[in-house]
Symmetry: C2
Subunit: 287 residues, 2 copies
């Protein structure tokens, strides 16, 4: 089947949009590994309608239950790739789905680690997007930071540019499907060093690994990564949207923290409602 | 005492703002007769976080309880007048309060009745604001539509322009304090008639009352009425705000349905959060 909308992200923005869309008679699939920053909020007292504090985890579950009750399918799958043919295709760790429109509601992703030198070399040899920057590192000796499915997918994309890649898990256990022959370092990273740009990673044992570039693929793919894949315009790491919440790519919308602004549940929920309105108008025009 | 903020309206926008402001250490008073359109919503299923339907009345109570628990004072008083001296003064049916800033979150007020001719003569002899239009009806034979405190207050303001005023309650019982000698018609209105502008009101018994102008003061004072009192810019009946949710009058902010846009709880709640942010910035600058 071809969905009217696939929503990437099951936090407040994504679920709010899903609820509005399904009530407008649209077929909606929500894909997301977790509810992002919301799930880490221990106690929320500033979201309207909750006289007693509610935990982020509980609010996330309540939202998902609400969407499901109205007929939205919510799957805990991690997105690996977006593609456009006649319709959009969304490849996850579990399957491949087709849709007329996409809503990116991935929140603000964790894109850094607290290690000396990391901030210093951000943008100076440390990149966050293989699709964006892989070309600049052709044939170089590269490090890939990460351990999960997203990192494994970035690894396979990076192979198009270099075969000399070492995976640094920074102490995490490997959960993604990396090639058997992949070079993997599991020690904690203690420093990034270099001159004008990063040239070495030091690990817990004191080992210094010479590298010429670092790609960061921690956690799940962030909005910036999806955006880059399909050519969506960014301002910094925020997705640029119009008044209808549509990006510069027709049919691709964005809502919530990934679009910047006030990083609050209230704003994300409102964004979701507005994006649903924009998506509805768009679907009417193309049908 | 002088409040940091007085919020007019205890619906989603007003209460959301109150919650954010009190958590920033601001003293906040919320004034409102009811929660407006929200209270008339029988069942809400599109506001994020409620897996089971919630009634508007229950959501309104939950919001008020939430604000009160955090230290916000919420009073069921009807606003009669706003004034500016060194600080803002807010006169209600019960008292007089002082504040550094005002947030108008009155929702969309009911401004019409379903009677033949009413829409036709709207703006053609039918006015919604004594402060705005009273001057144009000096010495004329006038009708005032309404029965409550707001209507009584409009009546007393209208006396400055004409002493020939008939109150039409359209079947409602008088609850406001009108002068003893006020001329009052309690029959239902069946038609507004006239040529270029309204010139007569027909009531249920078939009586035709010749008039030269009609002022509508149904329900409570709408945003447009407050706006006009203090010189706030409107676009149609919507209050015009900047990115900080401030109106053209320094210190006077607006949020929710009264600012137009998507008339949804999600948007009102988000508006409230953003207005609180704007008010906080403003208070920092003036202190």
């Amino acid at each position: 089947m071809i969905y009217d909308t696939i929503i990437i992200g099951k936090g407040p923005a994504g679920i709010s949009a899903a609820v509005y869309l399904v009530r407008s008679g649209r077929s909606v699939l929500v894909l997301g590994k977790d509810a992002g920053a919301l799930e880490r909020a221990e106690s929320i007292e500033n979201y309207y309608g909750f006289p007693e504090n509610v935990s982020g985890a509980e609010l996330a579950l309540r939202g998902i239950a609400q969407a499901e009750r109205l007929g939205v399918t919510v799957l805990s799958e991690e997105i690996l790739h977006l593609g456009m043919d006649d319709v959009w295709s969304v490849k996850t760790t579990e399957g491949l789905y087709s849709t007329k429109t996409i809503l990116i509601a991935t929140g603000k992703s964790r894109t850094s680690i607290n290690v000396p030198g990391f901030e210093q070399y951000r943008g100076k040899g440390i990149s966050f997007c293989v699709t964006c920057d892989g070309f600049f590192y052709r044939g170089k000796k590269l490090a890939l930071l990460g351990a999960g499915s997203y990192a494994a997918n970035e690894y396979s994309e990076l192979l198009a540019f270099s075969e000399d890649i070492t995976v640094f898990t920074n102490g995490a256990e490997i959960t993604g499907s990396f090639p058997k022959n992949a070079s993997i370092v599991t020690e904690k990273i203690t420093a990034f060093t270099g001159e004008d740009s990063v040239s070495a990673i030091t690990t817990a044992e004191g080992t210094v690994h010479a590298i010429q570039g670092v790609f960061v693929a921690l956690g799940t793919a962030g909005a910036a990564s999806f955006a880059a894949t399909v050519g969506v315009e960014l301002s910094g790491t925020d997705i640029v949207i119009d008044a209808q919440h549509m990006t510069n790519i027709p049919g691709v919308f964005a809502a919530g923290d990934c679009t910047g602004g006030f990083l609050q549940i209230a704003k994300a929920v409102s964004d979701g409602a507005h994006a649903a309105k924009g998506i509805n108008s768009y679907l009417k025009n193309i049908s």
